[in-house]
Symmetry: C2
Subunit: 406 residues, 2 copies
């Protein structure tokens, strides 16, 4: 008898019909003799509808109240799934984040889980209940409801699996698993049966969108075995686990791409120590992450700095940068949002020099211009024009023979 944690996203609980479908699945897992904890997101568009209401009040930046509002979405889907299970003679009980003992800090709208007080969950399991937990939420030290920000439900599930010492955390979504590239772009993209934590982490950060990087990080840290699969069919998903289990011959495991990019360039920045720090601190202060960075060669003690951010953050970043350009006496700035990032990811790259060169070659053969490059031990990313992103994904998928993967 194993303890399994399953997480179902918003599209898996978008209607009562879909809830009934996953309830059947949960009941089958329970009937196999497992103890089951289920984490759910809010139904389909619920969160968007609540955000629209909040916007209408003119006060959607009132984060403490926003969390109070948004947390109701997951509470609703959790109770509806518990009802459905009970109606199928599968004993179930729903718990909110605070009832499940999910403790967080007080950073409303993007709180971090700080602790787990799981006694209630164990009590309910011991009474034979499937425990359905509202994802994406916790309780602050002040006793206020918090939400966990992007990837919050995935992170809830992985953190619960870690603290409950579950055998596996199953993340159910609307795709079959992790693919070598987005199947909507590359028709012969292959599903990977296993990826390493590190690869999943890179793929998640690079826009693969299957599982949030925060959850992948948590899984890696606590060594939680995660399986990503489709809630609407029973085909085996992708297992995310330690690199020790990986097929060593695979150099590149997948092609990731991200259209949510914008590039800002600052011209003629004085070459003084700490200038880059000033720029990026100002962005961090308004909650903007900088991704790729290049600093051009020095000329007359001045140089140009370019960097990328999420396109969604551009509106917030531009006024901050315009103000700074004056303060640091740069000559000006520019920004574009018609750029995108394509990346190759693979744990095998570490011991295979020349992979980056292969990537640049493949892009050059198709006349795709590279604006920026960034690398890590297991990935290489290139910023290119947005209009060429699909072509780039296809050519790289072919170049690294991912369509031949078995």
């Amino acid at each position: 008898m194993a303890l399994l944690v399953s997480k179902f996203g918003g599209s898996s609980v978008a209607s009562i019909e879909k809830i009934k479908h996953i309830a059947t699945r949960v009941k089958a897992m329970k009937k196999d003799g497992n103890d089951i904890v289920v984490v759910v997101s809010a139904m389909g568009d619920t969160t968007d509808e609540l955000i629209a209401l909040a916007r209408a009040t003119g006060s959607e930046k009132c984060y403490r109240e926003m969390d109070m509002l948004l947390a109701t979405g997951e509470q609703q889907s959790a109770s509806l799934l518990a009802m459905t299970l009970n109606n199928m003679d599968c004993k179930a009980i729903s718990l909110t984040g605070w009832q499940a003992g999910i403790q967080s800090d007080s950073t409303y709208s993007k709180a971090k889980i700080s602790g787990m007080a799981n006694q209630r969950i164990f009590n309910e399991i011991n009474q034979g209940n499937v425990v359905v937990i509202a994802g994406f939420q916790g309780i602050s030290p002040e006793g206020d409801i918090t939400t966990l920000g992007r990837g919050g439900s995935d992170t809830t599930a992985v953190a619960l699996a870690a603290s409950l010492n579950a055998e596996k955390c199953m993340i159910f979504t609307d795709v079959d698993g992790v693919f070598t590239a987005d199947p909507r772009i590359v028709a012969d993209a292959k599903k990977l049966s296993k990826v390493s934590y590190e690869e999943m982490l890179e793929m998640a950060s690079l826009g693969a969108g299957i599982m949030h990087s925060r959850a992948a990080e948590c899984a890696m840290f606590y060594n939680v075995k995660v399986e990503v699969g489709n809630s609407f069919n029973n085909s085996p998903g992708t297992l995310i686990t330690e690199v020790a289990n990986m097929e060593k011959h695979r150099v590149v495991s997948g092609i990731a791409h991200d259209k949510n990019c914008a590039r800002i360039a600052i011209f003629d920045v004085p070459d003084k120590p700490g200038i880059a720090m000033v720029l990026f601190k100002a962005l961090a202060k308004v909650g903007i992450n900088v991704d790729m960075v290049i600093q051009s060669a020095m000329r007359d003690n001045r140089n140009d700095i370019a960097f990328t951010i999420e396109q969604d953050d551009l509106e917030k970043a531009v006024p901050v940068m315009e103000k700074l350009v004056k303060e640091i006496c740069a000559s000006g700035m520019s920004y574009v949002d018609d750029v995108a990032k394509v990346s190759i990811v693979g744990a095998g790259m570490q011991s295979n020099p020349g992979v980056a060169a292969d990537m640049f070659e493949a892009l050059a053969e198709e006349d795709i211009n590279i604006h920026m490059i960034s690398t890590s031990e297991i990935k290489v990313s290139c910023l290119i024009d947005l209009c060429e992103i699909e072509k780039a994904v296809k050519v790289l998928h072919k170049k690294f023979a991912l369509d031949k993967l078995v």
Copy 2:
């Protein structure tokens, strides 16, 4: 500086526009130098929509989960009102039932308030916040979310006013106050400036629908001064207070009517001690309240018993009664749902004999047949045919000169 508790019903918070309207009103009360606690119901149709979802799961009788689901409605409206107030520079914070310390028993779907732990409310007031509390909900000793059943939000407001020692509890609704009769039926019905707790209690039970009888009972018990008024205008409402303040000359204060009636008759019930008890215990067991009862004169040691219940309960009552008719060897039963109850209510009736006779006379003059009668110290109710209810209300309003009230 006074502490005021205000309650706004579902129609008052049905849209963001309406929420803005009441926020303006709350801000004005706060600006007058008062400490403000606001209790809100769920937005307009939210509760009905959630019930429809629950029905679709086939498990709407799973009361613990229903409460988990339904409580989200008030949590949403509370947070939206708090956001709106903050956006108007009126500091506000929303609290759920459990955050506000509203303790209840574990009778899911119709829990009773068992205690108040108001420290958090006082803390927030001391920090200058308007405190917006989700009505209709509490927390059970097991730490589960409960809802308080019919009239739950009114009761939350009155109970808070009592425990916070508020100067006044203001129940805002979509009518101007308590009228001498339903203004939709009697065009010249007058708004009463004051009524006694007892009168309000009778009117509420008799279907006046302004304020729930449970809340009126709570107000009477704890001596909470309540004002019922219109959330959409500033005309003075009706003050509900001790009878000592009442105008003594008023014999009848109002005409109430209730169309939600059904009558069940059981024929030839054996005249044995405890038979009536058996009937009414069986109904109580399925949660049905019996209202008016008559037992006809005995004939051959057998007699007929007739009683009224809420029309909504008829479907549930009939099979229970059919089973019992056999068990107690009665000869049969019948039921009708085209009946209604008209009542006269007035604290002055206690010292004015002959008021009931005046009522019967007025109905007789209009050829309105009376099926059943029940009386208390301050009211007389008659069951009549549903099709005659409006005529009856009008003629009684005139008979007791309520249109001449100043």
